[in-house]
């Protein structure tokens, strides 16, 4: 039976809760237009902190999609994740009133910090009023695994579940984990990440990052690859994808939106940006190799784009190291310059944008960036029409993880 085609992991659904859109199509429309939505932080209790600008999710009412008991039990980061998960399931047409095969569908999320807002509220009760005033849901709401668990329970998904805690790049590692699960026999995995770093305690935790931008002008706070690069701004929200076995998707008539083709991950140490060059280049090579993809086949790169001069330089050099002469020709973009970095959610949002970009044949621009000081063909100002068959998504974490993901257009058959 060696003639059987290998199992492939494909994307059949996308759900997004982001500062620039509360559905995947709204997010893509904003990304395609290159709109910047960075703004002053308005969250209660955050007014007097030195971090002033971020990508806030606004106008989001979680009760539109999620039942009250699940909201009471969880932090905002899980509200975003559960909503994005429901939107992804709807988009994939996979589950409505309970899946037929609950054991064939798993859940994997990546998380960078867990539920800081919920945790702060309960810890204030602990030290303000006493231990008897701490609610029992503190035990499940604030830790990394909360979103995976609640999505699994809420949707009745009983397949292999997991949580990836590998820093910001964990968003890509989670997608790779899901794809491996699908190749090994799981029918589908609901996978992604959403974060909620805009709450007082969570913000104070971030103030120690030397890479954080505290510039107060939203249009100037996050400008990767420019000579004015001054760090990054955080964002909240994220995305969830349905990654499904290809023949299963085709059998039920679902649209195959993209193929998860290859992934590589490395670690080069916290804030050692110069060293991230080698780590990121290695991750790209591993991802291309797994995808059976030559460097010349990459049509667009979604850059990590940290916005720190040393890190931007390392990324530009890593792309050159891994793609060779093609590096100066390939279109590079960083939509997150307009919405901020949603930590683990950021590379999943980029992956969602990559799928849309391939579907629509257009490379979205990099907001707020007009003149760069690196040898890259960064798409700026307006979207660029292009035939896109293969996208490379890059991500690095502040703690030193590097990852690369290769996604191919859905209608491409196996090579």
């Amino acid at each position: 039976m060696s003639t059987e085609r290998p199992r492939r992991a494909v994307v059949t659904g996308i759900g997004v809760i982001a500062p620039n859109g509360l559905r995947a199509d709204a997010y893509w429309k904003s990304v395609r237009e290159g709109l910047g939505v960075l703004d002053r932080i308005t969250r209660e209790g955050c007014e007097d902190l030195p971090l002033k600008v971020a990508g806030e999710v606004r106008g989001f009412d979680p009760s539109d999609l999620i039942e009250e008991p699940f909201l009471v039990q969880t932090d905002r980061f899980s509200h975003y994740a559960m909503a994005a998960a429901q939107l992804a399931l709807d988009d994939a047409g996979l589950v409505h009133d309970g899946p037929e095969e609950p054991f064939s569908i798993g859940v994997v999320t990546a998380a960078g910090s867990g539920g800081g807002e919920f945790g702060q509220r309960e810890l204030q009760k602990l030290w303000g009023q006493g231990s008897k005033f701490v609610g029992p849901y503190q035990s499940i709401a604030w830790f990394y695994a909360a979103s995976t668990g609640q999505i699994s329970i809420r949707s009745g998904l009983k397949g292999p579940c997991g949580v990836v805690a590998s820093d910001e790049a964990g968003g890509l590692d989670a997608i790779a984990h899901a794809a491996r699960g699908v190749r090994r026999g799981t029918g589908a995995v609901l996978v992604g990440a959403a974060e909620a770093p805009l709450a007082p305690y969570s913000m104070v935790c971030q103030l120690g990052y030397p890479e954080l931008s505290t510039v107060e002008d939203p249009d100037r706070a996050y400008r990767p690859f420019t000579s004015a690069a001054c760090g990054f701004v955080p964002a909240e929200g994220g995305a969830m994808l349905v990654v499904e076995e290809e023949s299963r998707a085709r059998d039920r008539g679902a649209a195959v939106r993209a193929v998860v083709a290859g992934h590589g991950a490395t670690f080069t140490g916290a804030s050692r940006w110069e060293e991230s060059r080698e780590g990121l280049a290695r991750a790209i090579r591993v991802a291309l190799d797994e995808a059976g993809c030559a460097p010349e086949e990459v049509d667009v790169v979604f850059a990590d784009a940290l916005g720190v001069p040393e890190a931007d330089r390392a990324e530009a050099l890593a792309i050159a190291d891994a793609l060779g002469a093609h590096a100066t020709r390939v279109a590079v973009t960083a939509p997150k310059a307009g919405i901020g970095r949603a930590y683990c959610g950021a590379p999943v949002l980029d992956t969602a944008a990559a799928v849309f970009a391939m579907e629509h044949g257009v490379v979205p621009p990099t907001p707020n960036v007009f003149d760069i000081c690196h040898d890259l063909d960064l798409v700026m100002s307006r979207a660029r029409p292009a035939e896109l068959r293969t996208a490379l998504v890059l991500s690095r974490g502040l703690m030193g993880s590097n990852a690369a993901l290769v996604v191919r257009r859905g209608d491409e058959s196996a090579r």
Binding site: E67, E68, V72, Q73, K132, Y137
Partner: protein, 86 residues
């Protein structure tokens, strides 16, 4: 001495507040033996209600309180404790 007693109205309010579960008090009154689980209240939710009542009345409820399976059983146990102190 404590003269208050836990009513189904209050239990309904607590279920909403502590666990996000919406159940009409009349429904609880009419079917006090309907299990909490079928009403959508899990064990952590009941634990939260127990904690809230202990803080409100300044008494410790017996550990059996958080193991109650139905609203009727729970209201009886809480009111017995409030009356007798044990």
């Amino acid at each position: 001495m404590i003269t208050t007693a836990l009513t189904f109205d209050e239990l309904s309010t607590l279920m909403k507040q502590a666990a996000g579960v919406t159940v009409d008090a009349r429904e609880l009154e009419k079917a006090p033996d309907a299990p909490f689980t079928t009403l959508g209240l899990d064990s952590l939710g009941l634990l939260g209600i127990v904690g809230e009542l202990e803080n409100r009345y300044g008494v410790a409820l017996p550990t059996d309180a958080e193991r109650c399976k139905t609203p009727g059983e729970f209201v009886d146990l809480v009111n017995h404790t409030l009356r007798t102190g044990v």
